[in-house]
Amino acid sequence: MSALARIDRGLWLRIILSIVLLVAGSILIDGFATTATLASITENVGLIGLVAAGLMLTMVVGQLDIAVASVAAVSGIIALLAGQNSLLLGIVAALAAAGVYGGVIGWIIARTGVSSLVLTVCMLIGLRGLALVLVPQAPAILSDDLFWVSDGLVARIGPTSLLGVIGLVIIIALGLAMRGTRLGLSMYAVGGNVERARGSGVNTTRVYVAAFAGSALLAGTAGILASLRSGSASGTGMDSLLLDGVTAAVVGGVSLEGGRGNIINVLLGALIVRIIAAAVALEGVQSSVESIATGGVLLAMLLVDYALARRSGLPFANSWRVLAGPVRI
């Protein structure tokens, strides 16, 4: 019982939906049931999952960092620019920048109570500008003698690639940390009710800083991996990470209200999103179809979660207040 406590009621639903989509795709679409497709799906689940896991951190504490895509873009650019000679230096610099950004945002939100939605929209725009300042014309390019990194990341490992493995390992480690550390538990507490959490002895400032720094680090990691994979990082790139990440997190049942959400469901959310994307890509139909399909699944999952929450008497409806007003602090 205790091992399953955090695995909520929607888990089986998401597993079944993933299987149904996989089976339907295999039957209906030529070339879907191949290891290449599977590897592509899992690799991207690792990438999107990193962003979604980061969003989960901020959503669990009852906030939202909407600037994750900009953070990923800037991190990717820094990694390539600073990594011209030593790739390690580039990665460390990029992660340090992302971590500092997240920590500062978390600290400001904890101390001033300003709405994270508003603050991070500023950051979304500002960091995108910074990305374009860093690489005004041509994208940053991975130097030729480092192209083995690119090849290495997409090297097949079982049903996925090295990039997929890196992403999944980080995500699962995060999931274990959320469940097994007091900091992780404190995040759920803060998201449940920040006053009560403080009353229970939780250092809420530290929790906000950790959530936003963690989110930025995960988004930065995703940005670095994506840049290394493609060997280039442009000032306008990685825009889609935000929407994909948010979709994966919400399909994964993370509550915008805060205090609820777990990593396994988020991974399944990312999986569902990527299966749809892969199916649409193979069918060769327009990307508008992918948007409609993803939007439809998102809506369906919200309705199902709503119904499940109603049955167990939890106040799911409150999460809609987030959309109508400022994010609850």
Partner: protein, 495 residues
């Protein structure tokens, strides 16, 4: 022994607490009494580290202790059960315990086993440590909160109205726990508005008034009259106003429930209320005693039976139909739906009249306010308060707003849940006075309450509920407090 020496806290020119000194012995339950605004909550906030005092010190066993932050207060051995309990509903019981774990890594199985012991000590034997706290009753959550403090090995326990939201069975559990804590040699500060709790569990009493120490006494020597005098600074003639002699009485019933079967109850309700009558419903929490109010407010699904309002069939499906029928309803959670906490008082007062005037008209703020002033006069809400945010008012004045707002729409039937929960004794008399006056002018009142003294003193008749059944309706004049308690706990006259 806990000593408070010369403690002061001022906000600008306003002194919330001025040179308060008293001591509380280990092994005793010390009651901390006072009206809203007397400085109790400031004192509690200082003890819990949320507010830093302007002056003065706190000493435990002769040594000064540091309560400048919540963390330091906790380390100093001070634990506070806030009025708003702080257990997190989205975490399990064991997880709530683990929030204050000493190490960064959680040991879930060990924590669950450990908290089991504390839960059992408080009589929560049937509560699984891995259940989400949100699925527990309010009383059980209160006890989890106390259990969590036991686990932290606190030396000073401050309980801020721990029984305000509890039914009799849970109150007994809490009292038992509090006595045990005192017997273990802890300092227990017990804040309450229920004066009968003084005799039941407190050995010593401290009264604050206007931020100063007003009285300090052993409860065995102090009369209720002395306590009330210390609290409000004057004699309180009568808490419950008598029925006026020239009160309107009528043979026609205003509300009749005959064989009404709400889905939440196991048996039907039969109840009749006449104009000018104040009728109580009572029972333990979860006994279904609020169901007649909910049904009459259109909030409960009704399986069968008949409800009539002034002779006409009445079956409201929502608040809109209820208002149209002239029925006013105040829920127990007035913070949630009693008023607009952040808006000026007059806006809350005008809301029912505004709603009744339809959606598409033009609202004339000036005319609305004039009408509201008339209502506010009747409710003795001082003109100074009418422009202030409701949040800034005391519990008593806030309750007057949440009940009084209905006067602007001239209701014929008033339904009130827990009319004086969290309202201090002076303001309580005013709330009773307000409702009694309305009843004397012909309004029918049905109120639900777990406060036995209130049921007996204020209600003319009481509908008693037990185990989700309406067991009987009795005139309160013929009931003793013990008699009513027996009815409520056993559902019959004999225990």
């Amino acid at each position: 022994m806990l000593e408070i020496r010369d403690l002061s806290k001022s906000y600008g020119a306003v002194a919330a607490l001025s040179s308060v000194s008293f001591s509380a012995e280990r092994g005793m339950v010390t009651a901390l009494l006072g009206e809203n605004g007397a400085g109790k909550s400031t004192l509690v906030k200082i003890l819990s580290g949320l507010v830093v005092p302007t002056n003065g010190g706190i000493f435990l066993d002769g040594r000064p202790i540091d309560t400048t932050t919540p963390d330091r207060a906790k380390k100093s051995g001070v634990a506070v059960v806030q009025q708003e309990i702080s257990v997190l509903p989205n975490l399990t019981v064991a997880e709530n315990f683990m929030l204050s774990a000493r190490f960064g890594l959680l040991r879930r199985a060990k924590a669950a086993a450990e908290c089991r012991g504390y839960l059992d000590r408080l009589g929560l034997n049937n509560v699984d440590a891995n259940r989400p706290t949100g699925s527990l009753t309010v009383g059980e959550r209160q006890l989890v909160e106390i259990a969590r403090l036991l686990a932290q090995d606190a030396q000073v326990l401050v309980l801020d109205e721990p029984t305000a939201a509890l039914g009799d069975r849970d109150i007994a559990l809490v009292h038992q726990a509090v006595r045990r804590l005192a017997a273990e040699g802890k300092v227990v500060l017990y804040i309450t508005h229920r004066l009968n709790e003084l005799d039941e569990i407190c050995e010593h009493g401290i009264v604050l008034r206007n931020g100063r120490l007003a009285d300090s006494f052993a409860t065995s020597e102090a009369s209720i009259g002395r306590v009330i005098h210390a609290m409000i600074g004057r004699e309180l003639d009568e808490l419950y106003p008598p029925v006026a002699e020239n009160a309107i009485s009528s043979a026609e019933s205003s509300l009749v429930l005959s064989g009404l079967q709400p889905s939440a109850l196991h048996g039907p309700i039969d109840l009749e209320i006449r104009p000018g009558e104040i009728v109580a419903t009572s029972g333990q929490i979860g006994s279904g005693f609020v169901e007649p109010l909910r049904a009459a407010a259109g909030m409960a699904t009704v399986a069968s039976g008949d409800m009539r309002l002034f002779g006409k069939p009445y079956a409201p499906r929502n608040h809109f139909e209820r208002c149209a029928a002239g029925v006013a309803y105040c829920s127990e959670d007035r913070q949630l739906d009693g008023f607009f906490p952040d808006r000026p008082v007059w806006e809350s007062l005008s809301a029912p009249a505004l709603a009744a005037s339809g959606l598409w008209g033009v609202a004339n703020a000036k005319r609305l306010r004039r009408g509201i002033d008339r209502v506010a006069d009747r409710m003795t809400i001082s003109p100074n308060y009418r422009g202030r945010a409701v949040r800034a008012l005391s519990g008593g004045n806030a309750q007057k707003v949440s009940i009084g707002k209905w006067l602007s729409s001239d209701p014929r039937l008033l339904l009130v849940e827990e009319p004086t929960r969290g309202v201090d004794v002076g303001a309580r008399a005013e709330v009773y006075r307000l409702i009694r006056d309305l009843a004397d002018q012909g309004l029918s009142v049905l109120f639900a309450s777990t406060d036995l003294d209130e049921v007996l003193g204020f209600g003319e008749r009481v509908a008693i509920f037990h185990n989700r059944r309406h067991v009987t309706t009795l005139p309160t004049a013929s009931l003793t407090r013990d008699g009513l308690a027996t009815w409520i706990t056993h559902g019959s006259q004999h225990g």
